[in-house]
Amino acid sequence: MVPLLGMSGKTYLTLTIAGLAMGMLLFLVASGVSIIFGLMDVLNFAHGALFAWGAYVGFSVFKLLRNWVEAPSVLENFGVFLIAILAAMVAVAVLGIILERVLVRRVYGNHLFQILITFGATIVLVELIRVFWGPNDEVMSVPLTFQGNWDIFDVIIQRYRLICIIIGIILYAVIQLILKKTKLSTIVRAGVENREMVQAMGHNIFLLFTGVFAAGAGLAALGGLAMSIFSLQVYPDMGSTYLLFAFIVVIIGGLGSVTGSLVGALIVGLSYNYVAYLIPWAAAGVNILIMILILLIRPTGLFPAGK
């Protein structure tokens, strides 16, 4: 696969698993951007703010149910994890519905105004986080049994990383199933092309648009929660940092393609971890370099959405 680059096999495996976990987390963030763009032709700059909201809602749930988080029981830990995911996704999906109904609906078909209006929404949403949760960084607690490592033949695997990889795989499968096995994506894409015609065929296109946007927001929340547990902290501006990663991922993978997002996210996650180990100071720039290279060779990304 990838040359070992002078690393020992065990280091290589550990780094690969770390890279895969980071890639899956980035996929959670990027898939929402990609789906909203691929189906609705809307570039959602507020995705980062929704991501941060997801993290903060999860943070609050963990704080409320501290007993469960700190209990040494797998069942209770998973219970609180699922409750946090559910709460974050529902809360942020509601935010997404409001956002779509009030703002984004006015600017369908106009990319420039979509970026402007969702950027404005980002300012407001991030400031609201500061109002509700305070402007400081907070430490995110990790459920007790999620902490620690497994040691398999001297290859050290952090437990939570494995959980991230599994979540990513499940999510990819679910999204592909919905997109490939139902007519939803066809109807929504047709609705972007010709709204009246799709309505005449008996589909409530506005409801579908709202639904897709809410689903994208929910994915952002899931990504935010998972990422905040991974990086052990929440802060109001976290959205802009990871939105950047998401953009790099979707540019590499091809805007609008879910498979492209997965591949792009894994490329970014793996290369970041390898480079951070080999040449620590270059880690921040390597993703952008890869993005520039891919744009030079394939300006539409690796898996351009069929158009």
């Binding site: 703002l103 300012i123 109002v131």
Partner: protein, 368 residues
Amino acid sequence: MTEQTPVQIFRSDEKRKQYSSGSFFLRIAILLLFLLVPFLFPSFKTIDLAIKIAIFATLVASFDIMLGYTGILSFGHGMFFGIGAYCVAFLLGKYGSPSYANLILGLLLATMVAIVLALLISFISLRVKAIFFAMVTLALAELAIVLANKLSGFTGGEDGISISLPGIFSVAFNLGEFMGLDVTGRIISYYLILFICLALFLMMIRFTHSPLGRVLQAIRDNEQRAVALGYKTFIFQTISITFGCVLATLTGGLYAMWVGYVNPESSLEVMAIMLNVLLMVIIGGMGTLYGGIVGAAFLLTTQTFLPDLQKLAKDILPQATLLHNVFERWLLLFGILFILVVIFFPKGVIGSAREYIAKRKRTDLASP
């Protein structure tokens, strides 16, 4: 004499009215106000505010060339501003000495760097879709921040670089008193920067009214039609971007000259500058150039007097904690204002005013 085309008639009409319209006198009045600020309000706070309005108005206008006249949204404008500031700071402070030659050299260096970078960015991101440009510039701006902090040996890191200006622009210089005003190096710098801003602004007006500028507007309004008419849109967009970015670096250089100090917080707080520029251009009006003056004046004045406002709110209504919280989070108010303007007045103050005047003229013609 040959028959004139409608466009020619329109242009000669425009030319005839150029020096007699109300807006012409308004422009002259604004210019006079800027010229007279040191005499009317000789406090440092107002002079500082006035020159910052001039610098930011120019920066916003250069952003408007790209956003309002070409339809391309860049998140890298703050980065170019920072590059300009650092280029001037390098030659006047860290790697040079304060001399006139170094000042000009610094601005030239800034221009060169901006041209190369702008061409590079356009080449990698414009080939597919204009929206890629927004995403790629966002990524590069973030990279620039990381680099400026990582290469602290080169950029001075978080300590930043102090700059002193050469000769008659230095703080120590004093020419004596003129009409009750103590003419110091600061005042001379004020006028130098003001005149450079004015020159840049006039250049931009000329640029947008040139045939090239009209092609850019055609691309903004309907890219496919412009392509069908035989224009290579990629080249025109690249020219516009390069022009806008070069002007942004120059204003960055001017800003460094005035503030006399460059550090990652003040000059490379790229996203904060970017946010301000976006707010200013939206409030003032996209595609108007003059919107920059309105937007910059509004935003900078509010930000300067915000602490006073907060204090006033606390004095008058000591119980209303909610109000105080909202004032603390003034960005929230600006964000809401931003959204409202984008939705209800997408043309901004200047654009809406122009529309209103045009509408009134039309109704005047309709009802004699």
